[in-house]
Subunit: 342 residues, 2 copies
């Protein structure tokens, strides 16, 4: 009566059950599972047999409580449906699928406040690592990251002042490269069309502007943006708006590929010849860019690799290795296609 056998636990086998069955101490079971090298092969086999027979699965909550460290990667992204972040997340998942680490994703909805709240929630679990999109955290979010007590990787962008580590590329350079390409292809009245306009889009715009300024061709009326979330439909609308403002437009650099596709469709509909009358450049290089008719020039970004690389860096830091590079620039690649082949 003194031992009301598993009062709350629901009857699942515990480490003590395994230990009893294997005839060893509970600690040894724990060790056999976590650091097999430190347990003799004999016992290891015995313990494995007991684990298999009982169907024992360690309780991650108890483990986290006892070791003051959860085997969880916290991942913060601004959107779940944006293909760009989905690819990063996929890279993270694939890199972690054989590890004991679980993943917890937070959706910040592009909001600094929401990011702070999620960081608070994530932090309370003492995660093994944090991966966050972007480099423009609020001061308070930044403090939370600094005090998280675990490796932190900022992804998607590079910048001068990492919290801990960074993997990404320069959106400013990407934007400039896109605009310079249009310039070189002979376009002159080159517009910028952008939706959502998060900090990364802002920097692409800045890159576009730098190229246009250098060519002495910048005009504020060339820029058409909106904070509204991006979509193909919106691309079409923004393009019509841009054309209305500036009918002599002969090229557009789009914030992203959805917008670019919307522009292309509107050109079809309005019988505007691409690339003769209008040149189009997208950003990210989604699969469809190479198949569309005409195919669309785009700045290819390495989203999946950003995810895998971020995990590799975090894992290495968890293992106690200081990274050779704290800032990893994965770059981008301009994919020249029919849409700018004047």
């Amino acid at each position: 009566m003194t031992k009301p056998r598993s009062r709350r636990g629901g009857g699942r086998p515990t480490i003590a059950d395994v230990a009893r069955k294997a005839g060893v101490g509970a600690i040894t079971v724990s060790r056999a599972l976590r650091e097999p090298g430190r347990v003799s092969e004999d016992l290891r086999r015995q313990i494995q047999a007991a684990v298999d027979e009982l169907g024992y699965v360690p309780d991650p909550n108890a483990r986290a409580l006892a070791s003051a460290r959860a085997e969880v990667f916290g991942v913060l992204v601004p959107s779940l449906t944006n293909n760009v972040f989905a690819e990063v997340v996929r890279g993270i998942y694939d890199s972690l699928s054989d590890s004991p680490f679980r993943i917890q994703i937070g959706n910040t909805h592009y909001s600094g406040l929401e990011e702070e709240r999620l960081l608070q929630v994530f932090g309370s679990q003492r995660p093994a690592a944090l991966i966050v999109a972007g480099i423009d955290q609020t001061p308070s979010a930044r403090r939370l990251l600094e005090n998280a007590g675990c490796p932190v990787v900022q992804v998607m962008e590079t910048g001068p002042d990492p919290v801990d580590m960074m993997v990404g590329f320069s959106h400013l350079d990407g934007g400039r490269t896109a605009a310079e390409h249009l310039l070189q292809a002979g376009y002159r009245k080159i517009g910028f069309i952008g939706a959502r306009m998060d900090p990364r889009s802002q920097r692409r715009l800045a890159g576009y502007r730098a190229a246009m300024d250098a060519a002495g061709l910048f005009d504020a009326r060339l820029v058409t943006t909106t904070p509204v979330p991006s979509s193909v439909t919106l691309g079409r609308e923004l393009f019509r708006e841009a054309l209305a403002k500036m009918p002599t437009l002969d090229g557009v650099f789009c914030n992203n590929d959805d917008i670019a596709l919307g522009v292309l469709f509107e050109c079809h509909r309005a019988s505007i010849d691409v690339p003769k009358q209008i040149g189009i450049v997208g950003f990210n290089d989604l699969d469809m860019m190479q198949v569309s008719f005409p195919s669309i020039t785009s700045v290819r970004t390495h989203r999946y690799e950003i995810g895998t690389r971020a995990v590799a860096m975090a894992l290495s830091a968890i293992a106690g290795n200081r990274p050779e590079q704290r800032i990893v620039d994965l770059g981008f690649e301009l994919m020249r296609r029919e849409s700018t082949g004047r």
Copy 2:
């Protein structure tokens, strides 16, 4: 010396610190946080003040261990990048953002084995609820779901035999509706083009076949499928393959919208008139379908609502209410557009 103050904890305030500061028992703090109604307003205020001052955040791991229940929703989807599942997941996130529940997503990669493994991992945490995509679990996965000891919602599809609850629609009816629409529009040599061909795609194919059989127009050479993951590029390739097999093809029902878009692009490229020479129907009705030129007829599915509804049902079950309906069919809607307007 007997009490080495927070040896492992990392110095974060605990419930005991809050209790001390507020001059109450630890239990009362716990209650004030979880069931405010059961604590007098006076104490509640005092406790809140102590919580704020100390910056106390409850440890979810300790909570889960003590209560044998983690405030976690486990979500299992076959793909993270497929927009369809991303939308479902977004619905889940949005519905849960103001709740104490965290979300843990597992990516099964369309693999039953992987699904079993993840169910094992998720189950070990004693989640508050499980949401899984599809109804074709392996027997072993099904057993894990039945013994999970929490509400389970199968999403995306409806079927006769839920583990617990279901939210979705009939893919068979969706496929049949699409094919019947093409038939009614006057197309005769209607092909089916499908990538990935997961169980849901199989059922759409079955629906297509039922309609074609009923019209006496089915021919095995009309069907072109591949297990390869879907993409716009692949849509183009499969369409060329289909045309090569059956040059007199005058319509296609595509497995999904990416494939449909690939078909459309190839038609542009090969100067095949849509809808005159070829009618196209997609599935899911992504945003771009209504903007493309010509716009593409598609079967609209309510993905976001599937997510929100699944959460609502799970939450209600957690609260102890038996659901009125265990199986919720959210249906679909055929969006007639230019691509079938012969």
